[in-house]
Amino acid sequence: MAMTNTELAQNGSINQMIEDVGLLRRIWRGRLWYGTEWYITVFGGLILVTVTIVTLLAPILSPYDPNDFAGSQFIPPGGGPQVLLTRSGESNRVTESYLNEQLVGVQRNKNGTNIAIELELDYLRYQTQSEQIEALQNQEVDSILVDERDLDAIIADFPQLEIAADGIGPSFTLGTDNLGRDILSRLIWGARTVLGVAILSALLSSVVGISLGLISGFVSGPFDRVASLTMDSIYSFPGLLLAIAMAAMLGPGLLNVAIAISVIYIPTFFRVVRGQVLSIKEELHVEAARSLGAKPFSILFRYIFPLVIPSVVVVFSLNVADAILTEAGLSFIGLGLPPDVPDWGYDLSKGHSFLVAGHWWMITFPGVLITIVAMGFSLLGEGLSEILNPRLVKS
């Protein structure tokens, strides 16, 4: 595009022009430069953007309160809605207003019970489905509430029954847990917890790790030796065990868990930053600054620190990925958050108890989400490390 000098002056500068292209378009053009790594990074980034949007919109997206006992226990995915069955020929008598004066037969521990209570119906409770149907045929009750999923089997066995109304009550897309809480809502709200704790702990450890690493690499000497040995020792210790000990001592709570996790990742920030500072401080521009009389503090922050940032970004992303897994592990062991905070690891540990009973939906979905989010951060970190440090690219 041809542009006169006056136009350029109006637009400020070339840099301003590039700014005007827009962030999204610049990212999109990046694929031509970076190839495969670009796709890896953007894929990881997209996962994270999606999850972030979901966490921000949690109040709108989640159908129920995550701690609400919304349905009966162990409703499988897609289940929940009830069908009102009557004896043949009586279905037209059942209307909305009439329902209130009717006696409805429900089954113990099934969602029909919840709905009957919710709609303030008069109900009789039966142990099993066959007792329930028998009661209807014996005219003990006027109609019965049964699960929509069981409908086909019932009609096949008892063709004399009629559907009076269907789709009564809520549907649970991913089912309910052992207390009748909606799993989808718990997953959506749990994303907030998981992301919050993981990012908070990575932030805490980055602040400590980066400052220690900067100082240690810059001043060298005995301080550096002691700090390095300490960090190497922490690094060699099984991180989860350290987090377990700290979480047990600090007690449950969001901030406590974040602190417990953050200790594990201080050494990774420290090592990377220290290594970088050691090589950067030998570079020409630092020597030039020093010869011009810059003070050590300003050398460290104006001439060294900015060059460390790219590696820190990569380490941060990879550490968040790991922190998500650690947080889930802590909650799975039962040392994480207070029980009223929706959390994926906690849901998994609850589901563990009902695994043999075959309630697969309780343990499948939270685990899939943990994997996807951890993978998002890993991919982002991997991709960024190749893009930001092109000198390290090997293959």
Binding site: L229, F237, P238, L250, G329, G334, L348, H352, T371
Partner: protein, 338 residues
């Protein structure tokens, strides 16, 4: 032994002392100094002031911190972790009972990890930038993004509870006991006492936990092997071998892998902490009576001394293993000297 190697071993051994000191101090800080009263954390709310005071007195926590610290260190040096608060036996005795289970799990997991990791890593390096390389890389990223315990749950649900092929918890079936505990590793004990039933039962119980732990670590190990192999395959002796007309497969899997082996094994030794952390979660998932379960269970049983002793034992273990790995590395690679 060359003087260089001897010097290296001596210096490295001496360096273990500050490392142990730092780790033990770290444990001390976490358990005694940090905010969060251990007495309250262990006894939970509802404990009376007298109960808390009695707890502190029993553990010597009513004394000044520096005295506690020296007491703590001297206990570790004498390998005396105090007495368990659940059963009237020393904590070291508890560790002796639970540790072999973790060792057995770790050994079998490492078999899975090295088997899967070395093969797929070398294969990816050989086919670099081809479809299979990308597939293996993506798979390895997925593998180490998996929560270990969730992979365990899925295996339990499908192969264990679903198909009923393998047991989902414990080390042996109910009613099965080893005739004589020699090493504590049931598979080895079974071979030593020639008990075939015991061996089969122990192996059956080992399959799912070691696949769980092994696969997750294999994700990491594959990347390691691939990166190391790429380095090795760029070296001159590979080009020379190619010029001599050696078959590509021989070149990669024989000459290449052999030279990549030392760095791979060393890096693997450094990831010992990863293995232990993974073992804690695997043990919790499969009710495997090892060290991880010991810590987790005793936290709930409010057995402070055992928790403290187990964590200290882990600290000593980590220091010991890294010493051994570094010394081995010194033997294998003459360039590594202080």
């Amino acid at each position: 032994m060359s003087p260089g190697l001897r010097r290296y071993i001596i210096v490295r051994t001496l360096l273990t002392i500050p490392m142990v000191l730092i780790l033990v101090s770290l444990v001390f800080i976490v358990l005694r100094v940090m905010p969060g009263d251990p007495a309250l954390a262990i006894m939970r709310e509802g404990a009376s002031e007298e109960q808390l005071a009695a707890f502190r007195a029993a553990l010597g926590m009513d004394r000044p911190l520096h005295i506690q610290y020296f007491d703590f260190i001297s206990g570790v040096l004498r390998f005396d972790f105090g007495e368990s608060m659940v059963r009237p036996i020393p904590v070291t005795q508890e560790i002796k009972t639970f540790f072999p289970a973790t060792v057995e799990l770790a050994i079998f997991s490492m078999m899975v990890t090295t088997g899967v990791g070395i093969f797929s890593g070398a294969y990816a390096a050989k086919n670099r930038k081809r479809g299979s390389d990308y597939a293996i890389r993506v798979l390895s990223i997925i593998l180490y993004s998996l929560p270990i315990f969730w992979l365990g749950l899925m295996l339990q649900m499908t192969i264990g509870a679903g198909l009923g092929w393998l047991p989902v918890s414990g080390r042996l079936s109910p009613g099965m006991t080893p005739d004589r505990v020699i090493t504590g590793l049931y598979t080895i004990d079974a071979i030593l006492t020639l008990n075939l039933d015991l061996l089969v039962d122990a192996l059956k119980h080992l399959i799912l936990p070691s696949i769980t732990l092994g696969l997750v670590l294999a994700g990491f190990f594959t990347r390691l092997t691939r990166a190391t192999m790429l380095d090795v395959l760029e070296q001159d002796f590979i080009t020379a071998g190619r010029a001599r007309g050696l078959h590509e497969r021989v070149l990669v899997y024989k000459h290449g892998l052999r030279n990549a082996f030392i760095p791979i094994v060393t890096l693997l030794g450094l990831q010992f902490a990863l293995l232990l952390a993974g073992a804690i979660l695997t043990e919790t998932t499969f009710s495997w009576p090892g060290m991880g379960r010991l810590v987790v269970d005793r936290i709930y049983d409010r057995d402070f001394t055992t928790v403290q002793g187990t964590i200290l034992f882990f600290a000593l273990l980590v220091a010991g293993v890294s010493l051994i790995v570094d010394i081995l590395y010194g033997f294998l690679d003459p360039r590594i000297r202080y």
